[in-house]
């Protein structure tokens, strides 16, 4: 595994920074333009969720490169209020902030693998992987 690089999310503009890093790493790994856009969009969603709900957090990128497959793994970690009902949050159209409610389910569809852990009062940890085809 390659060493990971992280972006702290504190301000709205940090979302742009995270997105750019994600896109750059995706480009380096050899993803096509469509997958680059998918990854950038997914990073944007996760970073915005951190900014909107937890205010502070971190997004880390890791390159997975072994014999079986290559891919980009991103982990979004925050110590915000947590999600009380994950299955509800994963439904299309469910939102608590007046948005479209397509963020989390959208990220799941944009990426190949998706894993979410959340504890009330502890924070949320989302891990998503996209494989190079």
């Amino acid at each position: 595994m390659e060493p990971q690089s992280c972006v702290n999310i504190h301000k709205e503009w940090d979302i742009v920074g995270a997105r750019q890093l994600g896109r750059e790493m995706a480009k380096k790994l050899g993803f096509g333009t469509v997958d680059q856009a998918r990854i950038a969009t997914a990073v944007s969603e996760l970073a915005r969720n951190i900014y909107l709900y937890a205010e502070k957090g971190q997004i880390c990128f890791e390159i997975i490169d072994n014999i079986e497959h290559r891919g980009l793994c991103m982990t979004a970690v925050d110590s915000g209020p947590g999600i009380s009902d994950i299955s509800q949050a994963m439904q299309d159209g469910y939102t608590t902030s007046g948005g479209l409610g397509a963020g989390l389910p959208g990220v799941k569809r944009l990426m190949d693998e998706f894993d979410i852990n959340s504890e009330i009062g502890e924070g949320t940890r989302i891990k998503a992987i996209k494989w190079v085809r």
Partner: protein, 289 residues
């Protein structure tokens, strides 16, 4: 006591400067200034130490300090150059003053420290303020510049207006887009408003949400909004995200959107050449007779 130290430092400025230059020179290798040419570095160091001594001699002369910090900014050197330089100066002159005296009790020691601090600290404060102040100034200018090119609205034809969007859309900009769009649509009496997102790098749910809201608001004031410039990869991410854009027309390019807008306003493009050809033929036929 203080004036005595001051006199001592000023009288022996040569040896202090020499020591300072040596220390600063040794800082150069292996840090941020490594790529700077030796001549420029030495010249600037000399200027720096002159500024320090001028300010010690007559406290309150700010012109030299201002000029110097401006020069450092123009050179693009980091703030740590200034702080490092003054830190070294503090150490060198304290050491010098201590070696000049046989008294070694703690009062003398603390007196030396206090007076050197009194010279250096206002200088640090001033230089750092100047430096960061000018960065803040640049930043605020850029923010204003960004705001200016944020959401322009271009009336291209009677009833047709285009809003090209370039770059990242954040909450503040989204608000501006909505305001400009509605205000402009009413002002120009637009029947059709084209929003061009060719230059928007990523369309996530927030951006889509703002565009949908803007389009809905445009619909409420009686105009039609067409979203144009949707690149293939953006189209795919929008579908993946499950965003519903079926409520208003979308086109892949501005050209197609404009044709559609002409259609809505009851116009279409006619080639002039065909007419010219006809006229030429007419003339020929007349000449032939």
């Amino acid at each position: 006591m203080d004036s005595k130290f001051k006199q001592l430092v000023i009288d022996n400025s040569d040896s202090i400067v020499q020591k300072w230059m040596e220390e600063i020179g040794s800082l150069k290798s292996g840090n941020y200034t490594a790529t700077i040419s030796d001549e420029l570095y030495e010249g600037t160091n000399r200027e720096f130490v002159n500024v320090i001594f001028t300010s010690i001699r007559n406290q309150g002369s700010t012109k030299a300090v201002e000029d110097f910090s401006e020069k450092i900014i123009n050179l693009g050197w980091p703030l740590s150059y200034i702080t490092d330089g003054l830190q070294v100066f503090r150490r060198v002159s304290t050491e010098y003053l201590l070696t000049q005296s046989d008294e070694m009790d703690s009062t003398y020691f603390s007196n030396v420290l206090t007076s050197v601090d009194n010279w250096v600290e206002p200088l640090i404060r001033e230089l750092v303020n100047e430096y960061s102040g000018s960065w803040e100034h640049i930043l605020s200018l850029q923010r204003v510049a960004l705001q200016e090119l944020s959401a322009p609205l271009i009336p291209v034809m009677e009833g047709i207006t285009i809003m090209p969007l370039i770059g990242t859309i954040d909450t503040e900009r989204a608000k501006l887009i909505m305001e400009n769009l509605l205000e402009g649509a009413i002002k120009h009496n637009s029947e059709v408003v084209l929003i061009d997102i060719t230059g928007v790098p990523v369309v996530d749910t927030m951006v889509a949400h703002h565009i949908i809201q803007a389009a809905e608001a445009v619909r409420l004031i009686g105009s039609t909004c067409i979203l144009v410039g949707i690149r293939p990869e953006i189209a795919q991410t929008i579908v993946n995200l499950g965003i519903d854009l079926s409520n208003f027309p979308t086109k892949s390019s501005l050209k197609k959107g404009f044709t559609k807008a002409l259609e809505i306003t009851g116009r279409h493009v006619v080639d002039i050449e065909v007419k010219e050809n006809n006229i030429e033929q007419l003339i020929k036929s007349i000449q032939g007779e």
